[in-house]
């Protein structure tokens, strides 16, 4: 019997991280603005040793102002969505669950659109409003989704679907009666878009802050991975084995929702990643959540970095929304997965 050991988890994560690193390097190299690898390396090197002033300004702008933040966001969002997806699939006991099924993204979208109406000039308002919208949706669905004082998967799913459609309807309503302000920007956001540069000049701090949130939420979910393994064989069975169902469900619910809210407030609703990456990782590495959570995170990062790379280089200079890219790539993968299950 080869049991899962910490060493195995680390080894697989190292492998995936290497793949991610390669994807990042390729992503740095390709783009509308031509830069040779040599120049990229030099630019990074100079920056790292503190000689930032010696870098040609355009290189600096493209690499540090455009590509790296975009790649970093891709990693953050991809990792967040996939981890959230894995968590929701366990919590809702449903392999079709994706991070948006509980209405978190609709709440975020509503927050975003309200901020576009009321505070269009304030930088960063969209992100904050989106996160607040997500938080409200999370809380509302939590209270609706309880049964007997505890989150019940079927009730939660229903509550989530209802709130998602309700919120979407409100968004539709607002968008049609809007006085012509930048709703087109909303359309991009709703489709999922990594191309909007950070809303602040303190990019370093902003990214650091977002990553901190990711680590806390993903870490919290990770502490329940043994519990989730048991819950997947049946809730009653898990309870008899000593799992504190109530606490575990709450932790998973909150952490997965926070991860989703984080991703959506930064980049809109990018689809398929949260649904498919956990399944692919399961197929490759098994269903044990002690391995699945970290592999989903890194796998999601890889998927989104590549999707975003394709989105901005495939039909350059036109940029496709990254959500369209994940849908185009995701659909065939989904079909393949479904067919494999019919064994």
């Amino acid at each position: 019997m080869r049991t899962l050991t910490a060493r195995r988890v680390v080894a697989i994560c190292a492998l995936l991280s290497t793949i991610l690193f390669v994807a990042v390097v390729i992503s740095l190299r390709l783009g509308s603005y031509p830069i040779a690898v040599r120049d990229i390396v030099m630019t990074l090197f100079n920056k790292a040793i503190g000689r930032g002033d010696e870098i040609p300004s355009e290189f600096s702008v493209v690499i540090f102002g455009l590509r790296l933040p975009r790649i970093a966001l891709g990693i953050l969002v991809g990792a967040s969505l996939s981890t959230a997806g894995a968590g929701f699939q366990a919590l809702l006991r449903n392999p079709l669950a994706d991070p948006y099924v509980l209405g978190v993204s609709s709440g975020a979208a509503l927050g975003a659109i309200l901020s576009v109406i009321w505070a269009p000039q304030v930088t960063g308002a969209i992100q904050i409003a989106a996160f607040i919208g997500a938080a409200v949706a999370i809380a509302a669905v939590y209270f609706l989704g309880r049964r007997g004082g505890q989150l019940d998967s079927a009730t939660l799913l229903l509550a989530g679907i209802i709130s998602a459609s309700f919120l979407s309807a409100i968004i539709m309503f607002i968008m049609t009666t809007l006085s012509g302000r930048d709703v087109r920007g909303m359309a991009f956001w709703l489709m999922g878009d990594l191309s909007t540069p950070p809303p602040t000049t303190h990019v370093k701090e902003w990214l650091g802050f977002l990553f901190a949130i990711f680590l806390v939420a993903a870490g919290a979910m990770y502490t329940t991975s043994s519990d989730l393994n048991l819950i997947l064989t049946g809730e009653q069975e898990a309870r008899h084995l000593g799992v504190n169902l109530r606490r575990v469900k709450l932790v998973v619910y909150v952490s997965a929702s926070v991860l989703t809210g984080l991703a959506v407030s930064v980049s809109g609703a990018i689809g398929y990643v949260g649904l498919l990456v956990p399944h692919v990782m399961r197929m490759l590495f098994g269903t044990d959540y002690r391995l699945l959570i970290p592999t989903s995170a890194i796998g999601g990062a890889i998927a989104l970095v590549i999707a975003d790379l394709l989105a901005r280089t495939l039909v350059a200079p036109t940029e496709l929304p990254v959500g369209a890219m994940t849908a185009i790539a995701g659909a065939p993968v989904f079909i393949y997965l479904i067919r494999r299950r019919v064994r």
Partner: protein
């Protein structure tokens, strides 16, 4: 309790063998329960008071017709509900005082399996039985693997270690579920109508296995059933329930009184004593 202390406890547990004097695993004293106490929409149904004991290596049957309160009693023993009055003790400890993990170390509950969402191998499933021992985020130790393997052997499922759970037959799956419960190294093994979907051969095989397990180990096995003859043949003790009332507790010979059984099961029955000392119940020829 720290991981070290917990795993230490489990090893000590292992050492207590049949050589020890008869140890009481379960003690139920005047336990009662009523659904309507916690859920006002539930039908009026009161269980108890029930009193009985189960010693190590004993197989105790909770017997009765449908809706007699058997499953409710079993769930009380599992700690799923808190008794309204009375005491239920496992290894001398009141169940209600035990925290979730401690309770899972003492009591293993075997029930009909829920649908597995994602494919899982047999050994992974059984290994989960070790969850109550150790910290929250843990990777299983050598000892855990050993104990899980041991559990599989005890149910004769060694050969299916590498197979997928959803490829097993009903009987095979039941054995694996049982193995997981054994991996918990419990003091009490509880089974809720385990013979429900089995044919007569399967029923006998299961009860034989449970008997062997009880004999060869130091835990008590408590089985809920309405199968009169299987209970008679394999149990050390029977608790007869009817409409929530505990009618009689004792050996099969003591409990299987014709008039009592006929009234309880509302069927014309005859009771025969066999040379082994165990009774046999048959349908009466007179109506």
């Amino acid at each position: 309790m720290s991981a070290a202390a917990r795993s230490g406890a489990s090893v000590a547990h292992h050492l207590v063998g049949a050589g020890q004097s008869e140890r009481t695993r379960l003690k139920v004293e005047q336990a009662t329960y009523a659904y309507s106490a916690t859920d006002r929409s539930a039908p009026e149904f009161t269980l108890g008071p029930v009193s009985f004991e189960a010693r190590q290596s004993e197989l105790v049957t909770i017997l009765g017709p449908n809706a007699s309160g058997k499953s409710t009693l079993l769930r009380l023993l599992a700690g799923m509900f808190k008794a309204l009055s009375g005491r239920i003790e496992v290894d001398g400890l009141e169940i209600g005082d035990l925290d979730l993990l401690r309770r899972a170390q003492k009591i293993a509950f075997v029930q009909q399996e829920s649908e597995l969402l994602f494919p899982l191998r047999v050994w992974e499933y059984v290994l989960q039985g070790r969850y109550p021992y150790g910290r929250r985020l843990r990777f299983e130790s050598e000892e855990d693997s050993l104990l899980a393997g041991n559990a599989l052997s005890q149910v004769g499922a060694d050969s299916f270690r590498e197979r997928w759970m959803n490829e097993l037959s009903g009987g095979e799956k039941q054995r694996v579920i049982l193995a997981r419960a054994l991996a918990q190294q419990p003091s009490l093994l509880l089974l809720d109508e385990p013979t429900q979907h089995l044919d007569i051969g399967g029923k006998v095989e299961l009860l034989r296995r449970l008997r062997k397990l009880a004999d060869g180990n130091s835990y008590s096995v408590i089985v809920v059933t309405h199968e009169l003859n299987l209970a008679a043949e394999f149990s050390d003790r029977v608790v007869l329930l009817h409409k929530g009332k505990s009618l009689r507790v004792g050996t099969p010979a003591q409990v299987y009184d014709r008039a009592l059984l006929e009234e309880t099961f509302a069927a014309p029955l005859e009771v025969e004593m066999r040379p082994s000392g165990r009774p046999r119940v048959i349908l009466s020829s007179e109506h």
